[in-house]
């Protein structure tokens, strides 16, 4: 077996100026990033952004045109076999062998690897005990997805690739899969995942990279990305006609006033000061702001600002 080449503290994935074209289409156009050990890293972007190509290069399924990509210390161009032995991959496949049972399929995948976890341990980790003798075609969407994560875990990989793990799942099944990923994080696994769901990235990812047209537009923690783009937060409340826009606009911290469907929105750089002044002003006209709440810009807003379109087009 090939020697582990990742020293403590070194990245599990390092990509430098990676390029890949299909004919005249530049699917990946010079991207650079690193994923640290134990980190959950999210690749976000619309369809065709280059996420899948990037992941497939890292999984050893495609050769890059130029640039460097190292996974667990191995060069993907020269050592894909060693990488495949030590990574776990989950794709958006439906049923692999629909007529095999859960146990049979896990056993089959175990036979592909030199080293593997016991089937029962994997079954329990993914909460599939009750369906272990069911044919995979009979599983619900959420169970199918848990099975595909289970198959990614059979070789006890150090690094996992999850490709849109919760696409098509209902909110409950999505939550349950997030818990599985959380458990993996606690066990020190490194994960590279792609997703269409901003809340998923906000919930799971330590860091994210936003991709479009083969480029990485921005990279960092979710909070960093939001702060970098949106220093303002917004204060929302039901409109109070006695308070004119002019008076609201002169409150401390407020930079802009907007009205949407009977709701007034104050854009502010200093929430406590603006809130205090708003309450005083409202009291002075004998009212109190109703449905008062404060919102922060989300990753969705960052994405919209960067690419000019919503993520789930």
């Amino acid at each position: 077996m090939a020697e582990a080449r990742v020293a403590v503290g070194e990245p599990v994935i390092s990509v430098g100026d990676l390029h890949k074209s299909y004919g005249s289409v530049k699917a990946v156009d010079g991207i650079t990033f690193e994923v640290g050990a134990g980190e959950i890293f999210g690749l976000l972007g619309p369809n065709g952004a280059g996420k899948t190509t990037t992941i497939e290069i890292l999984e050893g399924l495609r050769q890059p045109d130029s640039g460097e990509a190292r996974v667990l210390g191995f060069d993907v161009a020269h050592n894909p076999a060693a990488i495949k032995e030590r990574i776990g991959v989950q794709l958006q496949t439906t049923a692999l062998y629909p007529r095999l049972t859960v146990r049979e399929l896990i056993d089959l995948f175990r036979s592909f690897y030199r080293r593997s976890l016991p089937t029962d341990q994997i079954v329990d980790a993914l909460d599939l005990r009750e369906r272990v003798n069911a044919r995979t075609m009979e599983l619900s969407g959420g169970q199918q997805q848990r099975l595909s994560v289970a198959l990614a875990l059979v070789n006890d990989p150090e690094l996992l690739f999850l490709d849109e793990p919760t696409t098509g799942l209902d909110p409950q099944a999505r939550r349950s899969l997030w818990e599985v990923v959380g458990g993996l994080r606690r066990r020190g696994k490194s994960i590279l995942l792609t997703t269409h769901y901003m809340e998923e990235a906000e919930e799971l990812c330590d860091r994210v990279a936003i991709m479009d047209h083969g480029h990485i537009l921005e990279m960092g923690t979710v909070t960093e990305l939001v702060r970098r783009r949106f220093q303002e937060r917004t204060i929302h409340f039901d409109a109070i006609p006695a308070l004119g826009d002019g008076r609201l606009g002169s409150l401390p911290g407020v930079r802009r006033v907007a009205a949407e469907d009977g709701v007034t929105v104050l854009y502010t750089a200093d929430v406590p000061a603006s809130i205090g002044a708003l309450l005083e002003a409202a009291t002075s006209v004998g009212q109190e702001p109703r449905n008062l709440h404060i919102l922060q810009a989300s990753l969705e807003d960052v994405f919209l600002a960067l690419t000019g379109r919503a993520l789930r087009d």
Binding site: E59, L61, E85, L91, L100, D107, L108, Y113, R114
Partner: protein, 373 residues
């Protein structure tokens, strides 16, 4: 090797649990054998329904009826009038109607009395009327010939002419090759062709559903994946052979006259060639639907121009040329030769060489053009 075994078991399980697939690969050829077997074994001894209309009612006409009744393939039904006979024919109960005219006995007696004194007359003394259906050409021609022969014999008896020249017909084949014996190896060849060719469909499906990609992301070697698919299909091919040949032997007594080893090798070679052809199809179509359509369309010329069901003799020349290029022609021909000593389209080594050639060509094309994702 452990992985190959595991994957092969997984593939075999998937196949056995797929009811529809089981039907098409195992039961369908069996149904085919039964159907063809019954049709052709029925055709061995056809019987013809003949209406007998006797307008004379004499001892002579009754004697003639006895002569016809001795012909085993004819079933005589007495009809009272010509019109009744024709109606029965129109309604499909009879294949032909034979009418003995009024005055038949008297005319024969007069003619034979005259024959002893004067020279033989130019035309017949009296004629029977035979109604046949031109739309049933083969049946009509056969009936006309049989009745012509009976009448000829009757004439000889009446005129007391000795028989000088006779014909004794004998089957040419060294062994008795029935139509069923011809059809059993043909159906086996067809089943192997479908087994391999239709293998393109799950291949394309696995690629379309990213299953090949998912397996590609494991350390599983590609040759293991291909090897296990081929292995499963070869085993299924052997099972098909046992089932089809078993039914041929048990129900229709079609024996394998040649070497069993050679027959097994032919099954494996034929299956391999068509499995490779399946990979060629999978190399050029992208969707499962297209794969299913392409294979369905391809199987028809393979089946009908390869001489496995229709002999080459009845085909126009250009069709024969197409058939002579097709692998199924040679598989069917080789199996027929080994199984029932049927007449050869090509010598056995040529059959095997052509099949092997197709196999190599298909392998080369697949190796060059097959895409994993």
């Amino acid at each position: 090797m452990r992985t190959l075994l595991r994957l092969t078991v997984a593939n075999a399980r998937s196949f056995v649990r797929d009811r529809a697939g089981m039907f098409w690969t195992l039961l369908f050829p069996v149904v085919f054998v039964l159907l063809f077997g019954l049709i052709f074994s029925g055709a061995q001894n056809p019987r013809y329904q003949i209406g007998w209309v006797d307008l004379d009612g004499s001892a002579a006409s009754a004697g003639l009826r006895q002569a016809f009744a001795r012909v085993t393939v004819l079933d005589l039904t007495t009809e009272t009038t010509e019109a009744a006979g024709r109606d029965a024919m129109r309604s499909g109960k009879l294949s032909a109607v034979l009418v003995v005219p009024e005055g038949y006995g008297a005319a024969l007696a007069a003619a034979s009395a005259a024959a002893s004194t004067t020279a033989a007359p130019a035309g017949p003394a009296v004629s029977l009327t035979l109604y046949t259906d031109p739309s049933q050409q083969q049946t009509s021609v056969t009936i006309q010939q049989i009745i012509g022969q009976v009448v000829g014999v009757a004439n000889q008896a009446l005129t007391r002419t000795p028989t000088l020249l006779g014909v004794q017909s004998k089957p040419l084949n060294t062994e008795n090759i029935s139509s069923t014996a011809y059809i059993v190896p043909s159906i086996l060849a067809m089943a192997l062709m479908q087994l391999g060719l239709f293998g393109a469909i799950p291949l394309v499906e696995q690629r379309e559903k990213l299953i090949l990609k998912r397996l590609g992301a494991t350390p599983l070697a590609r040759w293991t994946l291909v090897g296990s698919n081929v292995l499963v299909r070869l085993v299924i091919g052997l099972v098909q052979a046992v089932v089809i040949l078993g039914i041929g032997l048990l129900l229709f007594n079609v024996q394998i006259l040649g070497s069993l080893v050679l027959m097994t090798l032919l099954v494996l070679l034929g299956a391999s060639t068509f499995i490779a052809l399946g990979y060629v199809v999978a190399s050029f179509v992208r969707t499962e639907e297209a794969a299913s359509q392409t294979t369905s369309i391809l199987q028809f010329p393979l089946m009908f121009l390869s001489g496995i069901f229709f002999p080459f003799d009845i085909m126009p020349n250009f069709m024969r040329a197409v058939g002579a290029a097709m692998p199924l022609t040679y598989l069917g021909d080789a199996m027929r030769q080994v199984m029932v000593n049927g007449s050869a389209f090509a010598p056995l080594p040529v059959d095997i060489a052509v099949l092997a050639g197709w196999l190599v060509a298909c392998l080369a094309i697949s190796a060059r053009f097959f895409r994993w994702q």
